[in-house]
Symmetry: C2
């Protein structure tokens, strides 16, 4: 596998890394893809794993099988912990450094508590499969504990679900918990009444779904409120501890605090020794390369690419995917001695956020949709983007079934629901 062919190292097999690998596979290069996990994760549906609507494996595909048909692509299950720009190597946690001719960093982002590291011991992030499974566990166990509790204050605390952050993840999670309590669990308990559960959604900014047009964000708020989600905008969290949250001076006892308020880039800026942009992101050139290192690229959530008006592009899958494809083209051109492609431009096809059963918002270039039509579009787009026909069929069957019956298929608590393990 060694020889005169340029060696491409791609770190991270999310939307960006996977697109880069696939679009480089036809070039005369040898590619190694590193990931800490053995699976590519379809993050847009993570909230459905968190709320027991889908199984973790429904939205996770083995990276090896996604790339097995390309003989020049090798997958290595290893965590990369550093980059040596001079020696041109990446360092895995265990074993010898790996040399590269071109490096694509696509390591993504993680949940961030903005420096309040103690808050993360008392609230659940939602960026990884493990975090989603922990939310599912905590959510289902809360109802079980409440069923067995006798002190009304305990029961109220167990049945208060706080979602912090009114972006798409927070909106989707809050809506989905509301439906779980109101419909799925409705008849399953004898002492508590699941529809009595309180779901609170806090957003520090003035509106939900910042970045969406006003009309859509107002629709989302009205719709969630009609479903029974209590929403407070302009409400920053003062503190999070074992008893719950304090918001705008008011303590809210809760055993279930879900943190959707922000993300930070993975620490690749530190590896590279570059001064990070906002939230630890890596500033990049118009061709997605690092200033002063034309053979090293940073894409997706990790990078700060100046978008329209100078604002960095959002950390969403289409940006990562388009950048992955783009840097594949840059590298292929370089290897072939062709002139480089023009600077990267993000083609924004629109944004979607789902609120609940048959309700979503769609902010498209030529239309702003709400309600059932937006929801149909959301379903179709997400099914289409899922990797693999098998997962598409499985997810479709489960959505259709849930839509008919209000039931959810992944209501399994693993381990002891009465042992407080925390996030």
């Amino acid at each position: 596998m060694t020889g005169p062919r340029p060696k491409i190292v791609i770190v991270g097999a999310g939307f960006g890394g996977l697109a880069a690998a696939r679009h480089l596979a036809a070039a005369p290069v040898d590619i190694t893809v590193f990931d800490r996990t053995n699976h590519h994760l379809f993050q847009p549906l993570l909230y459905q794993v968190a709320t027991a609507a889908l199984a973790p494996t429904d939205i996770a595909s083995p990276i090896r099988s996604l790339l097995s048909k390309y003989p020049n692509v090798e997958v290595q299950l290893a965590e990369i912990v550093g980059v040596d720009r001079v020696a041109r190597t990446v360092a895995p946690r265990h074993g010898a450094p790996i040399p590269f001719d071109y490096l694509v960093l696509a390591t993504g982002s993680v949940a961030s508590w903005f420096g309040h590291d103690d808050w993360q011991h008392h609230s659940f992030g939602l960026k990884t499969l493990v975090q989603a499974t922990r939310i599912r566990q905590n959510l289902l166990a809360a109802f079980e504990r409440a069923e067995r509790a006798t002190d009304p204050a305990d029961i109220a605390r167990l049945l208060t679900f706080v979602v912090v952050g009114g972006g798409p993840s927070g909106v989707e999670l809050a809506g989905s918990i509301r439906e779980l309590a109101d419909a799925t669990l409705r008849r399953d308990f004898r002492r508590i009444d699941p529809p009595q559960a309180r779901i609170l959604l806090f957003e520090a900014g003035p509106a939900l779904l910042a970045g969406f047009p006003d009309r859509l964000s107002r629709y989302a708020k009205a719709r969630l409120e009609r479903m029974g989600v209590e929403i407070r905008t302009g409400a920053a969290v003062d503190s999070v501890d074992a008893s719950g949250v304090v918001v705008a001076g008011q303590p809210i006892p809760s055993a279930n605090v879900f943190w959707c308020a922000g993300v930070a880039a993975t620490p690749a800026a530190t590896w590279l020794g570059v001064h990070p942009a906002a939230h630890g992101t890596v500033p990049v050139q118009p061709d997605c390369s690092i200033p002063g290192a034309p053979d090293i690229f940073a894409i997706g959530d990790l990078s700060a690419f100046p978008g329209p008006g100078g604002k960095p592009l959002p950390g969403v899958a289409p940006v990562a995917e388009q950048q992955g494809r783009y840097v594949a083209g840059v590298i292929a051109a370089r290897v072939a001695g062709r002139p480089p492609p023009p600077p990267f431009r993000y083609r924004d096809r629109g944004s979607l956020a789902v609120i609940g059963r048959a309700a979503a918002v769609a902010d498209l270039p030529h239309a702003k949709l709400t309600g059932f039509l937006a929801w149909l579009m959301w379903s179709g787009v997400h099914l289409f983007l899922l990797n693999g026909l098998r997962n598409r069929i499985l997810v479709y069957v489960q959505w259709f079934w849930a839509w008919l019956t209000y039931s959810r298929g992944a209501r399994v608590i693993e381990g002891d629901p009465f042992q407080d393990t925390g996030p």
Copy 2:
């Protein structure tokens, strides 16, 4: 919910406990079902979870939703740790004892190492969802570790899969691992060749599938051997440790020892203070009650019910299910003041074991089938017996898909595959 109505306590929501609850739900009684987990587990397909063919949630259904339509049935998620025969109460691990008028013990069995408790630290049992997930984890991680290993002895040890026990579980697991290595993983690695993995099946007795007619057990052996499983009958395990197993004096280095050699009953005999029968089972009367305690019943894997020729009935789902229905009838008759039904008789509708793709054996009252026809029957029966249409559709889709493409949908390693956590 209290009052003059007799209080029935059912411990365990497996096939037996669930059948008892459902068939008693129409009687004028109040029923409480206890289980340590929140889900009923379809154990016959556990090996498919262990080999990444199905997700854990595909074969697990929430007990609450299975019983939610019966207003007189309450489900409690709690582990029972004792029975007071005099006070007529059961003791949960936490909280006050729970009184009963009638008690149905259906706590099942666990993997048993026959007193070699140290062996269980180096081999994986396959009786619970957690155990199945651990096998999946270990199995998938073994290939990942081998891909990264450099020492040929390490690689050989990682790619040697030892299944101990040639009953249906062992046969099914060995065949399924063989297909995983030969087909599913075939093209996914660059340094190792997954079809080179060795799968060894050891059985201490003279033949595989003891209890099945000779012809079927010979077919199973020949078929597995043709698939490439190395089978040794009459081969008892001398020891199991971190390096592998010793069988008939010969050490076999293996990082993957799967224990399907035996089960033991849960400790209800100790709770009751009765002298246990073989493997800790509870001896019962012809009406499934405990000698001297006509209001306490033991059913399913937990009990030793004398079958044809005095041999205890096998620990299989149909026995548990029929006994559950039967004791429901006994209790309903007692409550209504009707004469008791005649002694329990097991209606043996036959036994099935699956070997691999389109290959199974069926030992039916009037026919002994092998091959594709037996496999069709096995698939049909198992789909039919799964709880809930949703799980049936999901499992069907996944089987059909796997049958077409040889791929498997649950190839997710959670946590660090290079950290040796053991069984």
